[in-house]
Symmetry: C2
Amino acid sequence: MAVTLADVAARAGVSAATVSRVLSGNYPVAGATRSRVLRAVEELEYVVNGPASALAAATSDLVGVLVNDIADPFFGIMASAVQSELEPGKAGRKLAVVCNTGGSPERELTYLTLLQRQRAAAVVLTGSAVEDPEHTAALAARLRRMAGAGTRVVLCGRPPLPEPGGPDGADGPGSTDGSGDADGTAAGPVTVAFDNRGGARRLTEHLLALGHRRIGCVAGPVERTTTRHRLEGHRAALAAHDPALLADADRLTVHGAYDRSSGYDGALELLRRTPDLTAVLAANDTAALGVCAALRETGLRIPGDVSVAGFDDLPFSADAAPALTTVRIPLHEAGARAGRLALGREAVPPGGMATVRTELMVRASTAPPRTGRAPVPSGGPTR
Amino acid sequence: MAVTLADVAARAGVSAATVSRVLSGNYPVAGATRSRVLRAVEELEYVVNGPASALAAATSDLVGVLVNDIADPFFGIMASAVQSELEPGKAGRKLAVVCNTGGSPERELTYLTLLQRQRAAAVVLTGSAVEDPEHTAALAARLRRMAGAGTRVVLCGRPPLPEPGGPDGADGPGSTDGSGDADGTAAGPVTVAFDNRGGARRLTEHLLALGHRRIGCVAGPVERTTTRHRLEGHRAALAAHDPALLADADRLTVHGAYDRSSGYDGALELLRRTPDLTAVLAANDTAALGVCAALRETGLRIPGDVSVAGFDDLPFSADAAPALTTVRIPLHEAGARAGRLALGREAVPPGGMATVRTELMVRASTAPPRTGRAPVPSGGPTR
DNA sequence: CTGTTAGCGCTTTCAC
DNA sequence: GTGAAAGCGCTAACAG
C-alpha cells in the first residue's frame, strides 16, 4: 500500500539497513550513498512507519501530558511550555500527547494505560491530584511500573507520590518486582511542586495586614491536593496572626470547582452566612471573576466594600476591573522544566523534587476594609 | 522484558491468537476461554503493545488535533470538545494528540509528518490558516495524501482546502495517484467553518445602528483566513451603510496578534491616528481586554467615551468590566462535531462543509457615541 | 562503510 | 471455537 523502506532501498540501490541508518543519522554513512538515499526518499515521498520503528527499536517518541482541564489556561500554559521543550534538534523530535482527564481519577488511569500501550517515552502529570487513598495507591503503583519500564515520569504542580508504604496483601503475582530494571533511565518519578501553601499564606497575611478579619474562602474541590494546600496556608496565616480567627474558619469556607460559576455561587453563599465579611479569597483567578460578578450584582463594590483575591495570576487577571490581587505561579517556567526533566535534559533535583516559588501580586482588588460598612443591601443579585 | 501476548497465552493455556481475539473482542470466543484469558491478563498485568498492534493491524488509535496556541482558551475549548467525542465505548477508544503549532506553517507541516508517521486515524486542524499560496498548496497536497492513505482529515474553524487546481509540473513520481484508494474511508477533507464574515458584519451593523461612524479595528495577523474574513464582514457592513465610510477604513485598521498586548498597542496606535474615534473592534476577546486597558489608561471611559467589542465570546468576556459585547462562536459544539466527523460517527455534510453560525452578544461595552466628546486627554497612558 | 540476518509483538487468514 | 503460521516495516547485531 504505502511506500516502505524496502522501496526506497531498491530505488537507491542500497540495502534497507543503509536507508535506516541514513534516516536515523546515528551511524556513519558515505556522503554519496547518503544523498542518493535522501533523493530516493524525496522522490518516493517516503514517510517512516512510526509503529514499525517503535516496535523494532522498542522505544517511542510520544510524551504524554495529562491535564485536568485543557480549556483552562492554567493547564494550557503548562502544556504549551512542556511541548516547547520537546523539540531540540530536528532529530530527537518528540510528540507531545495532551490528555484531558477532566479531573477524573478513572480517566487519569485510563489515559495512563493508553500511554503505556504506546510505550510512551515519558509522561507528565500536571495540576492537583485527587486525594482518595485508594486512587493514590493505584496511581502510584501504575506510575512506578511505568518508570520501571523506562518511561520517565514527571509530576508538575502536585506533590510527590507516597512511598510504596504499607503492606498490600491479596495481590496477583509479579507485584514484588518494584525494583528498577537495571535500565538506567528508570529513575522514579520526579516532582516539580508549586508552593501553594506559602503563596496562600502570604496572600492571607497581606489581607490581615490591611486590617481584614472576616475573610471568606471559596476554596476548590475537596479532596484535592491544591485545595488542601492553599487552605492550609491560609489557616496558618490566620493562626499566626490570632488563633481566635480560626474559630470562624469553617463557616467562612465553601468548596466548589475551579471555575467561574463556583466562584459566583460560593460568594453568594458566603454572603448569606456572613453578611459582614470584608474579603473573599477565591480558589483561583477564574473563580475570582465569578466572585466579583456576584459581589457586583449584590451591589457591593470591590475593593470598597469587599476585597477579592485570586490565585495563579493567569493572563486576564491583570486586566480584570479592578485588577486582581493574586498569587503568581510561574506556570510556563514550571512546565518547561517539567518538559526538560521528561526528556532527561535537566539534572534531577536533589531528593527528586523541586519546589517552584510563588509570588504575591498586589493589585487593585484588595484594600483596607471600610470600617462600619452597612450589611448587604436588600434586593440581592439581579440574576 | 515486559509481559507479552505469548506469556498471557501460556498462562491461560491457549494460543496467542485466542488472546488477541478476546482482547479485541471482534470475534466469537467461548465464554469459559474468554474469562480464563481475562484472568491471566489481570494476573500478569498485561498491557498491549501499541506499536506492535498498530504495525500488524496497519491502523492506529491516534487522532491528531493541531492548534495554533494551546494556551489560548479558544483552542483549549475546541481541543477539549474534540477529545470529549473520542471515547465512545471502552473499546474503540482513541487517543487525542494535541499539537501546538504556534501558528507556524513549518511546524504545522512538521506535526503533520509526525502524525503521518504514526499512521494517525484522523487529524483535525483548528483555527485560522496561513494564506501564503505556497504553504497552502503544500498543506493541501499533504492532507490529500493523508486522506488518500485512509486518515480522516477535518478542518475546524478554517475554510476548505483549494482544489488541486492549476498544473503543477516538475514533481516526482507517484504524484498522480490522488484518487481514493478504494478504501472507503478515504473521503477528502471535511470542513466545519465558522461564519466569521457574517458575525463581523452583524457586529459592525450594531455599532453603526448605535450611531458610530469612526470605528477603529485592531485586526489579527495579516495573511490569516480568520483575520481576512472578519475584516471583510466589517467592511461589507460599512459599505452597505454608507460607501463613503470605506475611505477611512485603512487608516482605521491596524494588525497584530490575537493577544492582549496587540490589543493594547493597537488601541494606542489607533488613538494616535484618529483621536476622535468612538469605537474599537478587537481581533478577539483577548485583544479586546488589551484595548480596554489602553483606553482606560488613556483616561477614556468604556463605553462612555469609546465603545469596545471583541470576538469569540470566551468565558471571561461576560465577566470583564464592562461586560464585553462580542460575537459568540459555539466553539464547543464545533469541536465536538469535528471530533465526530473525525471518527466517522457523523454523516459528512453536503459538499463536505458545514458552517457554524455565530451570534452577536450585545453587552455593556458598547453604547451610542457621546456627541461632541473632547479629544484624548493629555498625558497619555500611565504605563 | 554496507549488506545479511534475525527478530520486535501482534493480527489475521487458513486449516482443523 | 481454536491453533498454526505468515508476515506488518523497521532496527540492530554481526559479518564482510
